[in-house]
Amino acid sequence: MSGQTLTMDVRRSGAAGIIDIKGDVTASSEQTLMEAYTEASNEGAKTIVLNFEGLDYMNSSGIGLLVTLLVRAQRQGQQVSAFGLTNHYRQIFELTRLDDAITIHDNEESALA
């Protein structure tokens, strides 16, 4: 698939693991996303925060990967939240009902509060 190369950087902030997403999230993103999640979960992270400020595009397969990540996080007793979504992707999270399980915040400060 053509598109922007995906990179995911991981940061820690207290008990939160932050995944900074840059590029396209599609079916081919699975390994990158799961490796980032594993790294973010190291050292007992209680919250996984997804930073979508650098997201270029996500298709329906990308949304499916988020559900898989969510299941893994729930198995570890972790909360998952997100920030940096454009209005379009906020609507997508509502339409796909991902917002039932992933809390959406306006910014990083709110997500880490």
């Binding site: 298709n59 559900v67 339409l95 009902r97």
Partner: protein, 253 residues
């Protein structure tokens, strides 16, 4: 892949069914909301069905054809009533599916996403599954692959029992037949469908057991019983009228 926001359906609170094709049963869709796997009850499964279409086809052409002729690849007796315009984001389609006893299970799907490489359907409340079904095609070293991938939970405890008692195998046969039909359209002789199943979450979500109130199979069955009673009553009325007319004619002679 076109990276166009219009590849996605636009958010709406409830499903709205458009023109209803003749012969379609429209139940359990209008006004319902859609469910992701998060809103389902049963274990979460990701099942992937793949068929190799060979090297003489183009993946984009496969998706284009699949969208245009989607209902024609379904097994006989299972009906997909989509919009005349074909598979497009935001469209709502009715499904009438054969159940035991000759009853038609009436439900539907929302076209959540569609681009040149894939399209995804999302299920409404009451459907057997809560989740997504994604259809895609892509080149591989062995040829162009057509793929159906489901990420689903059974919607409620009744469906979860049904899946355990043969429903999963029925589902496998359905997509096996559909992909073989697609492959035959592209001239593949003796196509083989490969299946990979992963249990993503073994836990059932008991807080979602109340989904049974929306169960489309139960509601479809009740609808069929209602129709059966009305037909029986009409037949009895007609028989009584015929008998009465015959009696009058006999006494007149």
């Amino acid at each position: 892949m076109s990276r166009d926001p219009s590849n996605w359906a636009t958010k709406g609170t409830d499903l709205q069914v458009g023109d209803i094709p003749k012969g379609a049963i429209n139940l359990n869709v209008q006004g319902r909301s859609v469910n992701s796997p998060i809103q389902g009850f049963g274990k979460m499964w990701q099942k992937t069905y793949r068929v190799n279409l060979g090297e003489n086809v183009d993946a984009a052409e496969v998706i284009k054809t699949w969208k245009e002729k989607f209902p024609t690849f379904w097994p006989k007796g299972q009906n997909f009533y989509g919009p005349i315009t074909g598979i497009a984001p935001g469209e709502v389609a009715l499904l009438n599916l054969a159940m035991p006893g000759g009853v038609k299970l009436s439900t539907g799907v929302l076209v959540l996403y569609a681009d040149e490489e894939s399209f995804t359907l999302m299920t409404p409340q009451g459907h057997m599954f809560a989740g997504w079904i994604t259809f895609s095609s892509y080149p591989s070293s062995e040829g162009v692959i057509a793929q159906t991938q489901v990420l689903i939970r059974a919607s409620d405890p009744l469906y979860e029992v049904a899946f355990a008692l043969g429903g999963q195998r029925k589902e496998d046969r359905f997509w096996d037949a559909t992909l073989k039909s697609l492959a035959a359209h592209f001239g593949v002789a003796d196509p083989k469908v490969e299946v990979t199943a992963v249990c993503v979450d073994k836990k059932r979500q008991w807080k979602r057991a109340g989904n049974i109130k929306q169960n489309a199979a139960i509601r479809s069955g009740m609808y069929a019983v209602g129709i059966g009673r009305r037909k029986a009553k009409a037949a009895a009325t007609a028989a009584a009228a015929t008998s009465a007319a015959a009696s009058v004619a006999e006494h007149s002679e």
